[in-house]
Symmetry: C2
Subunit: 147 residues, 2 copies
């Protein structure tokens, strides 16, 4: 049952057919089931973090495979990359346009309520230029409490 609902991710959400292997299922379970059950609690993980989680969940997956799967999930539109934090790539289960708090203490990204932030008067772009993405990061101070 759990296995089925995760498989659906590969069947319905993704474009590319990703074989539902043991490793990918385990990763998808952690990423998308946790996210789907909680009320829009989207996840923000690094490869290292996710690797620790799978191992903790009792499934053997190599770190290289976690990296590869995160990239494949991203290519399939299941995840979005965020690279706003020094030297790390975060993968976000929320693939819609939105912005983040960054909490340096816990090294965490937290979604900003999209209704609570807006950009006004976008600057004129150079002629012919197009926007790929607008990313806002509100970096909190170190002593800030956890959200």
């Amino acid at each position: 049952m759990i296995k089925n609902s995760v498989s659906e991710i590969f069947c319905f959400r993704g474009q590319q057919s990703l074989r539902p292997t043991r490793q990918r299922l385990a990763l998808a379970r952690l990423l998308f089931l946790a996210a789907d059950t909680g009320a829009q609690h989207h996840r923000h993980v690094t490869a290292e973090q996710l690797h620790s989680e799978v191992l903790a969940s009792g499934v053997e997956v190599s770190l290289a495979t976690v990296y590869n799967c995160l990239k494949q999930f991203t290519a399939a539109g299941l995840l979005r990359e965020s690279m706003v934090v020094a030297g790390k790539t975060y993968y976000d289960t929320n693939t819609t346009d939105h912005h983040h708090f960054y909490l340096p203490e816990s090294d965490q990204l937290v979604d900003i309520d999209p209704t609570k932030i807006a950009l006004v008067s976008l600057p004129e772009l150079p002629p012919g230029a197009e926007i790929e993405r607008v990313e806002v990061v509100i970096r909190l101070k170190n002593k800030s409490p956890k959200i």
Copy 2:
């Protein structure tokens, strides 16, 4: 004369007394004189880029020293770090609050005219939290022309 105006940077702008060594003077000359002469043409460089520049200018400086000096200049308030681009740290001679275009093709950061962008209705912060910095990056598409 040039040497003197660069030395002033160390005397007046910085808090910490940084010894005006041959290497630091060469780096400061590239970073701050170029920036000061052009009308607010602030610079955005990575350590590698700056290292190439010093070598090209005929001054032998090791890459490690460039890294170290960039960090020291930052600690002294002469530079600001920006980490919005995957796996690279850009150092910005504009230390005031401002935002950036990122041009993937040329791997460049470009200042956004501060009068042309604004955030409205900042989200409520978790109680006790304080903002360290707000960073907006407008990532342009790959095919976008140079600015």
